[in-house]
């Protein structure tokens, strides 16, 4: 088959995963920003610490089976130190990995008899196996993408006539459509937390205090609006208007203020009661 022929051409040794995936960035973690003297570290270049470890391992330029875990651990820790010195935001999992690797490093350097359980060799081996597995899958992915793909390398008829079909498949819908639709229904109707932004308000207590204080110094009927703070922003003014109105009603109920209004929606006038004047 044609597919096999093409895989024969590219043996695994010749594969350059980076070029095949067209993403050369990840081999080059630390770059000098153009025109600047400082280094920029792009932690977004990696998907997590394991990814970073693998690309550091690649820079050792040896078969992954021969790699020195201790050297790799040191590289990682140095990288994290540099990043911290440069005050870069590091995701927590990078730091967790750093702590774990520091522990592993001290274990690897300890004399054999003082080693805790599980042994650092075992932990190092596990890390090694994880890196091998990730590497294997990355290579497999690249080889997959490099195959003769429909629509790029080989082509099917763009507009076939289509065959006479049984009634049951007249309606078209796939499993993805179905679960996507359910996801959207759920997302649309899910209860959501709303955060109400704090608005500048005048509380009723503040308004009562303010109106009763000002009413004492007004000699004649005064428009309610003249009791509002002068330089307040419009939102605070609206709140103050409402609160002052309620305050006026409350004060009138207590007999501490008189209210007059000429017509519906006409301005409200306040005055201190006659008896006390």
């Amino acid at each position: 088959m044609s597919g096999e022929a093409s895989t024969d051409i590219r043996s695994p040794e010749q594969l350059d995963v980076d070029t095949l995936l067209g993403d050369a960035d990840w081999a080059e973690p630390i770059r000098r920003a153009p025109g600047e003297a400082i280094l920029t570290v792009q932690t977004e270049s990696w998907e997590g610490p394991l990814d970073l470890l693998l690309s550091l391992a690649r820079t050792q330029k040896v078969d992954l089976r021969e790699i020195s875990i201790l050297a790799l651990v040191e590289q990682y820790l140095r990288f994290i130190e540099d990043a911290v010195e440069l005050r870069l935001e590091l995701a927590a999992d990078y730091l967790v990995m750093a702590a774990w690797l520091a522990y592993l490093k001290s274990g690897l350097l300890l004399p054999k008899e003082a080693q805790p359980d599980p042994s650092p060799e075992e932990l190092a081996l596990r890390l090694h196996l994880r890196l091998q597995r990730l590497e294997a899958m990355r290579e497999a992915g690249a080889r997959l993408m490099g195959r003769d793909r429909i629509g790029r390398d080989v082509f099917v008829r763009p507009e076939p006539e289509g065959l006479h079909r049984p009634r049951s498949i007249v309606w078209q819908a796939g499993l993805f459509d179905l679960i996507q639709a359910y996801g959207q229904v759920k997302a649309r109707t899910a209860p959501r937390m709303h955060i109400v932004h704090r608005r500048p308000v005048m509380t009723l207590d503040e308004a009562i205090e303010r109106v009763s204080r000002l009413i004492g110094v007004r000699l004649d009927w005064a428009d309610l609006r003249s009791f509002l703070p002068d330089h307040a922003d419009p939102q605070l003014r609206r709140s103050a208007l409402a609160s002052s109105f309620v305050a006026a009603l409350e004060l009138a109920r207590q007999g501490r203020v008189e209210i007059r209004q000429e017509a519906i929606f006409a301005p409200l006038y306040l005055k201190a009661p006659e008896a006390r004047a």
């Binding site: 763009p158 639709a181 359910y182």
Partner: protein, 199 residues
């Protein structure tokens, strides 16, 4: 049967073409120096009497299913219809929550369900009435069918991804949420306009 690379290219170009091609177009797509005409006639001869034929109509060449076999082809009116958005959502809700009544579907969707939507799903053979709910009004309840499972390649309804799976797969937010926040923004704005009108 071995062919020259040129003849093979011409054959492939014709097969992958979006529509009938002129001789010049075939020449260009196959990137050949020599004339493609001899290849075209040789191919037409080769396919004569097969299930596929190479035909020339008004100077354009294309492959087609042999005319005498056209009865295997789809009739125009059988054009497969894509299930409407409402129908897919309704089907999904029935699959996840069955058995459900229409009112329950509506409360999950947050939108009314037209009667025609359920009819389409029943016509497709994916949904069936499954009795009545023993509550006031005794509403009809709906469930999915065996055809539903086989069409969607499921062995059981429990194979449907759960909410957490959907979230992890990235199917629980994107576009709609953004749309919604825009909508609620618009609602807020309308409220504000109304409030200001009252002033």
């Amino acid at each position: 049967m071995s062919l020259t690379i040129s003849a093979r290219l011409v054959e492939a170009v014709l097969f992958a073409a979006e529509g009938p091609l002129t001789q010049q177009e075939i020449q260009r797509h196959s990137a050949l120096e020599e004339s493609v005409l001899p290849h075209l006639t040789a191919l037409a001869d080769h396919y004569a009497g097969r299930g596929i034929e190479l035909v020339e109509r008004g100077g354009r060449w294309h492959f087609q299913t042999a005319a005498d076999l056209s009865y295997i082809l789809r009739r125009e009116r059988e054009e497969p219809r894509k299930l409407s958005r409402a129908a897919v959502e309704t089907l999904a809700i029935i699959a996840y929550h069955e058995p459900v009544s229409r009112a329950e579907i509506e409360s999950i969707r947050g939108v009314q369900v037209a009667k025609g939507t359920l009819d389409v799903l029943m016509e497709a053979g994916w949904v069936r009435p499954a009795g009545r709910r023993e509550v006031p009004g005794r509403p009809l309840i709906y469930a999915t069918t065996g055809d539903f499972l086989s069409h969607f390649g499921l062995t059981s309804r429990r194979d449907l991804p759960g909410i957490e799976d959907l979230r992890a797969a990235g199917l629980l937010d994107p576009i709609d949420l953004a749309m919604e926040s825009m909508e609620s923004q618009a609602l807020l704005e309308r409220d504000e306009v109304e409030e200001e009108g009252e002033d």
